[in-house]
């Protein structure tokens, strides 16, 4: 999706790479030849999708999981903790026709070579990753948290000044702390950065007498903060 939001930059990238399959913008069918790079969005939620991602993996030298759903299952994965069948019958009157299992990121089924974090992914990171692959160098991996980027922007802390639960201290940076810079707490759409301390953050919130209910909802949103995705 964000590929079309690259606008004219997309044409620049396509000077170096040929777009073989993108059903949303082109009639071209999935080719029968190997691909250099596959960029895949979305979570895997049923058997057909699992078969498809395995097929794409076999065809491709380099697989990029793009966006929160492909990285951790995303918001869809909130339903993973509900009992089997309950979600289906909430939405559909005849749930037996509707097939959907648990939502997982791509790495539940296949090896992933690079991740683009966030909901949505960042335009610049997408271009950088594609151009790195064109130049055959490993794509850049963000190593800072959103909280550090927020400090560098000189923002007031939304937790310390307004008591809002912010996932910035444990979330993968690279977004320039866009939400807190707009006065909104970080919701952790980019997933948890390895080496951070979600338990410590939870403790800080508990000590600040935040209701356990609010904490629970915050910790289980775009990803489960206690499940650090492979990278």
């Amino acid at each position: 999706m964000v590929l079309v939001h690259l606008e004219e930059s997309l044409l620049e990238v396509l000077k170096y790479a040929e777009l073989k399959y993108f059903r949303m913008v082109s009639d071209d069918d999935l080719p029968n030849e190997p691909l250099d790079v596959a960029v895949v969005e979305g979570a895997v939620t049923n058997e057909e999708e699992a078969i498809m991602i395995k097929k794409i993996r076999r065809m491709s030298k380099f697989l990029v999981a793009a966006g929160a759903c492909a990285v951790t299952g995303g918001l869809n994965a909130i339903k993973n903790i509900s009992p089997e069948g309950e979600v289906e019958s909430t939405v559909y009157s005849s749930p037996e026709h509707v097939r959907s299992g648990k939502a997982f990121g791509l790495n539940e089924y296949v090896n992933v070579d690079a991740y683009l974090y966030g909901c949505p992914i960042d335009r610049r990171e997408l271009i950088n990753t594609l151009m790195s692959l064109v130049m055959r160098v490993p794509p850049y991996i963000p190593g800072l948290t959103v909280c550090m980027e927020c400090k560098m922007n000189g923002n007031e802390c939304v937790f310390l000044t307004r008591g809002e639960l912010c996932l910035g201290p444990v979330t993968v940076g690279g977004c320039s702390a866009l939400c807190p810079s707009n006065g909104v707490a970080c919701e952790g759409c980019r997933g948890v950065l390895k080496g951070t301390n979600p338990k410590g953050l939870e403790l800080a919130w508990t000590n600040a007498e935040i209701s356990p209910d609010l904490i629970r909802l915050k910790l289980r949103k775009y990803s489960d903060v206690y499940q650090v995705p492979a990278r």
Partner: protein, 428 residues
Amino acid sequence: MVDRTVVYDYISRVEGQGSLVVTISNGKVKDAKLEIFEAPRFFEAFLRGRKALELPELTSRICGICPIAHVITAAKAVENALEISLDERTIALRKALALSGIMQSHALHIYFLAAPDFLGYPSAIAASKDLLDVVKRGFRLKMIANMVSEYIGGRAVHPVTLTVGGFTKSPPVEKLDETIKSLDSSLKDAFETITLVSGFKYPEFESDHINIALSNKGEYAITEGVAKTSSGEYFDSRDYRKHVSEEQVPYSNTKRSIFNGGGPFEVGPVARFNLNYDLLCDAAKEAAEKSGIRPPVKNPFKSTIVRAIEIIQAIEEMRSILKEGVNVPPPRKPKLRQGMGTALTEAPRGLLYHSYVLDREGNVSKADIVTPTAHNSWRIERDIYELVPLVTHLDDNSLRSLLGMLVRAYDPCISCSVHAFTVRLIRE
């Protein structure tokens, strides 16, 4: 006797995954099924138990093309439940944000989803080898629309500043002039788009059916107002479920919407144009005249022209809203309470409904979301029944591509309706 079955597996140039299966017998359509096979994400289920104030942010993720429509509609439904009223500037700025989303979605549809059919290319990217100026114009329109979304919403896809009760931050005043200038410059591209789409050769086909669009006094309604129908009825979002019911169909993950217990209906740019033509600005009316269309538009393929006209309407209205100033008061902390809230707005693809039941702590106990594509899905199938008998002389490939164009004309957003499309044609 089955003449043939035409199958369009995984329809291209629509958002999401779906297919179309049409069975033709004795020159008539025996069966037409729009199969949405994209896996449902169960938003209405996992929203239960979440906090009311999270709803704009969470429902934004229903769609990457029209997140703005979901954010605004969810915020309005929660404000409706909590009895929060907004000041005039906030309402105007929300409309400008909604219009930027419509402009972006329409530019994407015209140049990247629809135009390849009329220009004879598999994609706009393939077309850019011969028609670079045209494709770049499409990108420019999209870019300026996204720039306005980002200016008001903090980010174009999944805006962050729009919240229950208003905006967390006013758009930066120092960038206002630049934003208005960009809009000024895009008007030329928008009129060239009118020339482009007026030159397309549209299949000759008309279907007559009920249109439903938002209506409000004195404006081309997008974010405020009540539903108006071409049959002369009006209803408020609170009464939506008295007029629109839903039925599950076994072959699809999208539910079918039914008007007044009777039949299908159409929402979207054509319905808005047909019902609210008089309220378009002068430039948009001039564009309509130039392209030779006037209401009621009954040829679904010509929705492409209507989208181009709406781009002009959006640019004009965004300019005038921004020129009146962008400073909005900070939102007051909402007081949570029990209640039910509903909202109807115009998403790029048409009427969008959100409804929530909240408990005393402001937790969501029930969510009901009906997207424009869900509203239109039965209408699309009925169009196929009416169109195919007129074109049975076509071979399978030509028929498949014509039906693909018809489906595309409604710009279905399958991710929204659930998520996926394919056309299978079965001739009997």
